[in-house]
Subunit: 397 residues, 2 copies
């Protein structure tokens, strides 16, 4: 019979597979493209994966998390004073250092922030692009209809370009699969609710990122299901990531576009002994909790549009949904402190960080806002600020 | 009989009135507010003046062109790495240093760039605000209907809040008046076509700014009419701003949000002997040339929406209209060189400046891009760069 220890090894193997997902995906995508499968490159949570998958196409996240060579290269054409994610995304395509972009038959973008919107115009000189017009106001009455029309326009563009038919039935199947993925991510965040948590923030991040790179969805869903079961089992046996008598500081990380700065922010927080129990922002818990409406009477395109209008990105104005959800997350996850991480020149999240701080103050939860960039040099300063914040929290226990 | 010299004095008096318009407007607005007239504060070309004026209300541009005290104050709440126009606008209201905001019954904003959009959310905590949802894509088929609905929503909000009725007839009257103003501005830019030009770039700027501060429109139209006539007459008599045998370098200034940096950019260009013959950007010639449709069969709200969707602001994606018009402006105004002025962290215009430069290169017109800010310190560096550019142009004659 398989022992608890064997299953700990099995869990580790799954986590290794998630961690290696991006590397494996570049081989997967190359082979898929060579077989004639269609690959759609995307940059953002707003890319409607359900529509892409319903067309039998693969959706892959394009490279945008590294500094050198893409950023210095991008700065020969884009302003230096621009979000590193945008510069890195552009530079990786300009310099042909993103295999996913190389094999993409089409890149989909959305008119989210100023920087992306304007960068996409330049990118359309380099690659085939379709830009979806995202409204600025997440108010159903004012924006749902035009947003739905833009998604239909995108669906029709895929159908026409690739000679496929994206039926309602296929959309429903695709919605069902991606709803399972959302539900699993919500369950993973639930493990952070436990005290001590049954998953670390770095583990959560790794699974979250794998969403875009484990392109065999069936395998991804099975592995995640198993992982969730094993994590809980290990925790119940006192073999979770923290000792049962450990009560690490419970941190909520807030922000977006931070995949390029994981080591010097998220990594440092956990290295210093605190536990990231949940994430808040466009990839955070609130986006995972509510599934897309699968009821038979729901029109799938309307249901997709409705859900994507809920993505709590700071480009939305006002982003009321984010603020409401922040309050409930602070309470449910029993958060000791919030660390807002924004990348250089990300105006929407940077400005909105003030409101996040105000809400934390109202709820009596200490708050730290750090700004960083992909370029090296600020690791020491970030560590010092994070350390001081955690010490302050520790002192207040 | 009135002599040419008397009329030169008359022209000077009118120009002085334009130059003093902002100062006089603060008294005008105070008195209007005390009489119970309704004052609407705005920030941008996208504020639909026709609708405001048709409601019998005054539209006034809010303060956002000075550095101290507003910017250091704004930076206590907003990121420092933000467009100075946005910080100054917010800081002037936060610190109550904008008389126009003080007397405004309502402030209207539009979801243009990220910075303004997010700043308006904070401003709505300080003042009554109405934010109009501007689409990102200036494509009539995709955006006109939802944009028109947003303008109708704004009209209805004014009607309800202030108990007025904005009829089609009033809208038509208001369109007619503001079309005259557009036509006059286009005529003023036409004076820049002459060689030597019959108006300086600083004079053009002064008249352009007065649009927002000479709130007695009848007086404004009469004075501008007279000014245009006098400028042409003086020029024909060899008494224009340049001697008849002078052929200054003909500069097109490109960009937006530059009212706060006039002295160290536009002022320096003309002080160094070059002539700004036209402007290009959201306040440039292309926006003035085409009037709003006044034909009896046109629905006024549709006609207004249609026109405002043409504002060639860089928040539009792609801003194709701007690029097309740039080419024709270069040819029509016989431009020797283009100077693109962008303010710090204005991502849309900064990124788009590359395309402006590319078009200039294609058309064989030398191009200079300068970035500046409201804060003092870069005057010397700007002057050196402008001087070098003008010398290069002079050498290439």
């Amino acid at each position: 019979m398989e022992s608890l220890k064997d299953r700990a090894q099995e869990l580790q193997d799954i986590m290794d597979e998630f961690a290696g997902a991006k590397k494996n995906a570049s081989i997967f995508v190359k082979e898929a493209a060579e077989k004639g499968d269609i690959v759609i490159g995307s940059f953002c949570q707003y890319a409607p994966m359900e529509i892409i998958n319903a067309g039998g196409m693969y959706n892959v996240l394009l490279c945008g998390f590294n500094y050198d060579p893409p950023i210095p290269l991008a700065e020969t054409e884009l302003p230096a004073n621009l979000c590193p994610l945008i510069k890195s995304s552009y530079g990786n395509i300009l310099g042909k250092t993103c295999p996913f972009a190389f094999y993409s038959d089409l890149i989909v973008g959305e008119t989210t922030c100023d920087g992306k919107k304007k960068m996409y115009e330049m990118l359309s000189e380099l690659k085939q692009m379709h830009v979806i017009h995202l409204p600025n106001i997440p108010d159903r009455e004012r924006s749902l209809e035009s947003w739905k029309e833009e998604l239909i326009r995108f669906k029709e563009a895929l159908e026409e370009r690739f000679g496929v038919k994206i039926t309602d039935e296929k959309l429903r199947e695709s919605i069902h699969i991606l709803n399972q993925e959302r539900s699993q991510m919500a369950q993973l965040y639930e493990l952070g609710k436990l005290d001590p948590p049954a998953a670390t923030g770095l583990q959560m991040r790794s699974v979250l990122t794998a969403e875009y790179f484990m392109l065999d969805k069936k395998n991804k869903l099975e592995k995640t299901e198993r992982m969730l079961r094993l994590m809980r089992e290990q925790w119940e046996a006192g073999k979770g990531p923290y000792r049962p008598d450990q009560h690490p500081l419970r941190i909520l990380v807030s922000g977006a576009g931070i995949d390029g700065v994981v080591d010097k922010t998220i990594g440092v927080i956990e290295e210093l002994g605190a536990a990231i129990v949940c994430y808040e922002g466009c990839c955070g818990i609130m986006n995972m909790r509510r599934p897309i409406d699968e009821s038979p009477e729901a029109d799938p395109m309307t249901a997709i549009a409705d859900k994507y209008l809920e993505v709590p990105c700071a480009v939305m104005s006002p982003n009321t949904r984010r603020f409401e959800q922040l309050r409930s997350t602070l309470a449910e996850w029993k958060v000791d402190g919030v660390i807002s991480i924004t990348v250089h020149a990300c105006t929407p999240f940077d400005v909105e960080s003030k409101t996040i701080g105000d809400i934390c103050a109202e709820e009596g939860v200490p708050f730290l806002h750090v700004r960083t960039d992909y370029s090296p040099g600020d690791e020491g300063q970030l560590r010092t600020r994070i350390e001081a914040f955690l010490e302050m929290l520790e002192g207040g226990r």
